[in-house]
């Protein structure tokens, strides 16, 4: 069957009253961006839905790609027909005969164009009867049909659509500002990033790299995770922080029970500075309560004390199982479990303080000059922009 359109329905964002236009405009932009490898398509934004005019492009590939765009409630392939009874009948017949494995069907008509002469109930009957009399061995099943044909009669035309495919829901990325994600190679932080993007937030990421204690593979893993995330937005800037020297200094100068807390505070300070430079107003972390030593209430308190920026913690109240399930769903789990160390596990003290006291941390830090180290690090950050690549990278793609 040659479908010529995809209908995209908005869902949640239709509720947003005056902001609606902002959201739909952002969504249309995101859709165009995500589908830039399908040059023939056209995106036609309407008040209550959006059409992708296929112009011959492959509908399945496009629907696949659209499933990673937040702000889409659901979508269907569609066939555009003129508002005329015979044309609708013929096309519906074609649609039904050319779809495989259909023994039962159902017609539902929605007539928002009241000028169309036949009412929706009546048209269900008219069209149903027409289809029954033209195809052998087919019956109507209103409860569980193999194929439901929706006839959407609108002012400009009629759209015949079959099944609805759920979208990623949420809000269009870019409609809720920007945040900086502290991205490690673990399971949690990419999930935190994903959930934040789902609320319409565009991300940048920051990663702390400590060669030779952490390997290139660990860095690559993070870039691979960022690439997966970038499919939900357009592209993600990743700031790679050379962290070795500072970690070594902390290891040397701070009592071991407190080195972990101090290290995290340094990460927060550096992240805040990067956010400020980039005009970003908040940070995102993958912390959740009670998983490891650094995620006790006391620890969070001591670490949070260095920043006034809002810290978004989408996982804070989630179970590990839930987090893993999402990680698998969004295809990041296999990357996250690649066995390479990240910087947080490099100088793990034998007995980190699980309940660090803020005054003590501040006291330890006060004795040592860290500011020059931080300034040096900030000037040495490497930033890469990761784009959602639908095709293989050049270098390797050539071989494959």
């Amino acid at each position: 069957m040659q479908y010529d359109h995809i209908v995209i329905r908005y869902g949640e964002l239709t509720l947003k009253g005056r902001n609606r236009k902002l959201f739909t405009t952002q969504l249309a932009k995101n859709v165009r961006q995500a589908l830039r490898n399908f040059p023939a398509i056209k995106v036609d934004k309407k008040r209550d839905r959006m059409y992708i005019v296929l112009n011959g492009e492959d509908p399945e590939a496009i629907m696949d790609r659209c499933q990673k765009i937040f702000g889409i409630q659901n979508m269907s392939v569609a066939l555009k027909v003129e508002n005329e009874e015979t044309a609708i009948k013929e096309q519906a017949l074609k649609l039904l005969t050319e779809t495989e494995n259909v023994r039962t069907f159902k017609v539902s008509t929605k007539r928002s164009n009241k000028e169309f002469p036949i009412g929706s109930q009546e048209f269900n009957q008219v069209l149903g009867g027409y289809l029954l009399s033209n195809i052998d061995g087919i019956t109507v099943d209103v409860h569980q049909p193999d194929l439901e044909i929706t006839v959407d009669i609108r002012s400009e035309a009629t759209y015949l659509t079959s099944q609805k495919v759920p979208g990623a829901a949420g809000l269009p990325v870019g409609s809720s500002g920007k945040s900086l994600l502290l991205l490690s190679g673990g399971i949690d932080s990419p999930v935190a990033g994903y959930l934040t993007m789902k609320r319409g937030v565009q991300l940048e990421a920051i990663h702390f790299h400590s060669p030779p204690y952490t390997s290139e593979r660990a860095k690559e893993k993070v870039l691979d995770l960022a690439e997966k995330l970038s499919f939900y937005g357009h592209s993600i800037k990743v700031h790679i922080v050379p962290f070795t020297a500072l970690q070594q200094k902390i290891h040397r100068e701070i009592p071991h029970g407190y080195s972990m807390t101090v290290m995290r505070r340094m990460m927060m300070r550096i992240s805040e500075a990067v956010a400020e430079q980039e005009g970003i107003l908040s940070l995102v972390t993958g912390e959740s309560l009670g998983q490891v030593a650094s995620q006790t209430m006391e620890s969070m308190h001591a670490i949070n004390a260095v920043t006034n920026y809002p810290v978004i913690r989408p996982l804070v109240a989630m179970d590990k199982d839930e987090i893993i399930r999402i990680s698998e769903e969004i295809d990041m789990y296999d990357i996250s479990i690649r066995p390479f160390e990240d910087c947080c596990t490099v100088f793990v003290p034998k007995q980190p303080k699980t309940k660090p006291k803020l005054e003590k941390v501040e006291q330890f830090e006060a004795n040592i000059e860290f500011e020059p180290d931080i300034q040096e690090i900030l000037s040495a950050i490497e930033t890469v922009e990761i784009e959602a690549k639908d095709n293989q990278e050049e270098e390797l793609g050539d071989l494959l």
């Binding site: 390997s215 071989l399 494959l400």
Partner: protein, 380 residues
């Protein structure tokens, strides 16, 4: 040279060979080494696996790279048998499988397994009702090929998959070696648990292949060791070979629908022409057969003699499959299809590739006509 023995092996595509050479020198590291040279190899391996998975529409961790079709079939069948023998020791296959399936099953019989070899009809087709009858509570594996390598019959894989699916203890293996790139197969929709592909049949290199192994399926490993390939198939990964294979898979897939049209036309023309010849009986079924294979017998003429006579014109075709071509007797596949012995001993196979042209097929037919005429005069 008119090479019409592409079911035995194909000429490697120069692009495929080129990828192999480049990867051999540029990515020679051991993908398990932790340094950068190992990492480069590992990344390339990972990309290859992802691409193979997307071509087969499965998950990357369901791709097990092997050394070819024979290894894939052995690993699938022995791997299931040895791992799951506590559940049952009954295996079902068909009478017209490739030797790497049939002989593997016979090898398992020697180890105490019981094997049912399903009959086929005159087209080489397995009968679904018959399969249903033979399924038992202790059946742990059904292994049926997609496209037969001698006569080209396409089995109803999806229907078979549905039957096997209803037996929770039984796994379903498909030898897809002759099918890949020629006849579409939807692995997941057909409920396939294991699926074999071989590189050198699709213009890739010898020594390369894939076994698809569904995520949830456990196999007894035939290659224990470093734990590579999901612990199912250890050994330092042949990254260059894998890269070349995936490239061959991609090229074959890209050409598939065009190829199907072209070869189907050539096949039908050739079959119609052959029908006009005296003594010739066509063994490839008219329907449900792959586009690249035409098998026929010339009654009363020794097939080797025909082959060698055609070689004088630089035309290369074969008797049955290469694997069994050295035993001079009848084709087990043709016998299983119920052919007379004199047909079964005189089978000839033409197998085409994307490079085959109409001119070549016409020229082949013309020379075959001459050869048959000449030889018949002698043989009387």
């Amino acid at each position: 040279m008119i090479y019409l023995d592409n079911s035995a092996t194909t000429k490697p595509n120069p692009q495929v060979l080129d990828s192999f050479t480049k990867a051999s020198t540029g990515f020679f590291g051991n993908a398990s080494s932790i340094h950068g040279i190992g990492m480069d190899a590992e990344r390339l391996l990972r990309k290859s696996r992802e691409q193979a998975a997307s071509l087969l529409e499965v998950n990357p961790n369901e791709i097990i790279f092997t050394s070819g079709g024979t290894e894939g079939n052995n690993l699938a069948i022995k791997g299931i048998a040895l791992e799951h023998q506590n559940r049952g020791k009954h295996i079902i296959t068909s009478a017209i499988e490739h030797p790497s399936v049939i002989e593997t099953c016979q090898g398992l019989e020697a180890l105490g397994f019981e094997v049912t070899y399903l009959d086929v009809d005159e087209s080489g087709l397995v009968d679904i009702d018959n399969l249903k009858k033979e399924m038992r509570e202790d059946t742990i594996l059904v292994s049926i090929m997609h496209v037969n390598n001698e006569i080209g019959t396409i089995q109803p894989i999806k229907e078979i998959g549905e039957v096997v699916q209803s037996y929770p203890k039984a796994f379903f293996h498909v030898d897809h070696v002759q099918g890949y790139g020629k006849v579409p197969l939807n692995i997941q929709a057909s409920h396939v648990d294991l699926c074999t592909i071989s590189g050198h049949k699709i213009h890739g290199l010898k020594g390369t292949g894939v076994l698809y192994v569904k995520q949830t399926v456990k196999l007894f490993s035939l290659a224990h060791g470093g734990g590579q390939e999901r612990r199912i198939r250890s050994g330092t990964e042949n990254v260059a070979g894998i890269v070349s294979l995936v490239k061959a898979m991609r090229l074959a897939k890209e050409k598939q629908s065009e190829l199907h049209k072209k070869l189907t036309n050539l096949k039908h023309t050739l079959m119609e022409q052959l029908q006009t010849l005296n003594r010739v009986v066509i063994n490839t079924p008219k329907f449900a057969s792959a586009p690249h294979i035409v098998n026929f017998s010339v009654r009363g003429l020794k097939p080797e003699v025909v082959i060698h006579a055609l070689e004088d014109f630089e035309i290369f075709i074969s008797t049955k499959s290469a694997c069994s071509s050295k035993s001079a007797d009848e084709s087990a596949v043709l016998i299983a299809c119920g052919k007379d012995r004199d047909i079964a001993i005189s089978g000839l196979r033409v197998s085409m590739s994307y490079e085959t042209t109409k001119e070549e097929v016409d020229y082949f037919f013309q020379k075959l006509t001459e050869v048959i005429k000449k030889l018949s005069e002698v043989m009387g």
